[in-house]
């Protein structure tokens, strides 16, 4: 239970987090959404605002998931979910698909995260707790290659530890790559001076946010 000082604030749900990030994506951007909550962002971009979604496995111009009885088994996204293709979509092979990522052609990538540090470092692929082989997929390519990297994640772990940190403790995905973080508590920009708060969950005070955050925060 939250302590009394912040009893009134309401953290964003996952759907609200996805919707919040979706608001900031303008028409015309080429966007790659990571597995998990980031994938939900697409559902919150109205189809009349043309945003072109990319998937690492060679799909450009992804549409929403199909109804179960209209699944095309040849068309999946990087999370291996069935998807659709919008008019204007196209298919390429893996090297061409990652050329889009690594060559800086993707305007925005949104990934999940274990930790984001105030210097923009991201850790999102391996934890020391993980004793089986870690899996990296396309996370390092996306983090290093996209024009902008945003992270969408809970502000704290289940046991209350801040994921918005001074320095990452988990193995890094990329160095100094994150530009913005969307959590259930706030929207934070990564700047040369550190994290700057752009937005907070309704009812949350800056002090209460700082209390739940490992990194030092600056008011925006």
């Amino acid at each position: 239970m939250p302590d009394t000082a912040v009893a009134e604030f309401k953290p964003l749900s996952r759907t609200e987090m996805a919707a919040r990030a979706a608001r900031d994506i303008p028409e015309g951007w080429y966007v790659n959404l990571g597995i998990g909550i980031p994938t939900m962002i697409a559902d919150h971009v109205p189809s009349e605002r043309e945003v072109i979604f990319h998937s690492e496995n060679g799909v450009l111009g992804m549409g929403p998931q199909p109804p179960k009885d209209q699944v095309d088994p040849w068309l999946i996204n990087a999370g291996k979910q069935y998807v659709t293709l919008r008019k204007g979509g196209s298919f390429v092979h893996h090297a061409d698909s990652f050329a889009m990522i690594r060559g800086g052609h993707i305007d925005l990538c949104v990934l999940g995260g274990f930790e984001v540090a105030e210097n923009g470092d991201l850790a999102n692929w391996a934890t020391s707790e993980n004793d089986t082989a870690p899996a990296v997929g396309g996370a390092m390519d996306l983090a290093a290659g996209a024009k902008r990297l945003w992270v969408l994640m809970e502000h704290t772990t289940k046991d209350g530890r801040s994921k918005v940190v001074h320095r990452c403790t988990y193995p890094l995905t990329a160095v100094g790559a994150v530009k913005r973080v969307y959590t259930n508590l706030a929207v934070l920009d990564v700047t040369e001076r550190g994290f700057v708060v752009r937005d907070m969950a309704p009812g949350l005070s800056f002090e209460a946010l700082q209390e739940r955050t490992d990194a030092k925060l600056l008011q925006g």
């Binding site: 998937s55 690492e56 496995n57 060679g58 799909v59 699944v71 095309d72 088994p73 040849w74 068309l75 999946i76 291996k80 293709l85 298919f91 390429v92 092979h93 893996h94 090297a95 698909s97 990652f98 990522i101 690594r102 391996a126 004793d131 089986t132 082989a133 870690p134 899996a135 990296v136 997929g137 396309g138 996370a139 390092m140 390519d141 290093a144 290659g145 193995p171 890094l172 995905t173 990329a174 160095v175």
Partner: protein
Amino acid sequence: MIDKIVQSMADAMAGIEDGATVLIGGFGAVGQPNQLIDGLIEQGAKDLTIALNNAGVGRTGVARLMDLGRVRKVICSFPRSSDPVVFESLYKAGKLELELVPQGTLAERMRAAGAGIPAFFTATAVGTRLGQGKETREFDGRTYVMEQALPGDVALVEAWQADRWGNLTFRESGRNFNPIMAMAAKLTVVQSQHIVELGELEPEQVVTPGIFVDRVLHVPYGDPPTF
């Protein structure tokens, strides 16, 4: 007359040797050459290095090849799957070597092998555990790591259409690693859903030209398995 179409799985698999590096197409179940993988299991080559995106699901296909002790090393980006039981038990037991490679680097290393490029620089993995021990260099103020080509002795590829010259098309997201693996291997073996007459494929619509293909087996298996 050039005719790359083979009539049996035995012909498709002929000459694959112990110790070979085998590139295996597909991303998830889509574009994965399942029948050729079963053919390789049947054929018997062992001490294999396999390069592919995922390290197998359940106990069939690639997982079965590993389970039979035929794989020495896996080069992949995402060993996890919905059911990675075989990979994980062999890996924990120290019976399988893993080279974990970022997915884009994996793809680019194979494309490089096919294009005569022994090494290249990339920003991916700089400053991370997967970049450790690799040569780094600055270009225009940014740091890059050097990565080397990943050539295969054999590539197993799944295509949608093929003709007797080995020209290929792919279906939707079934394209994935298949065209670059075809380029990267000394021996490229294809299973194709459809065999078409020479000239039926539009010259502008061929995705993998036959120069990258050695053998084609007609395997009209229908849709890929759902998950």
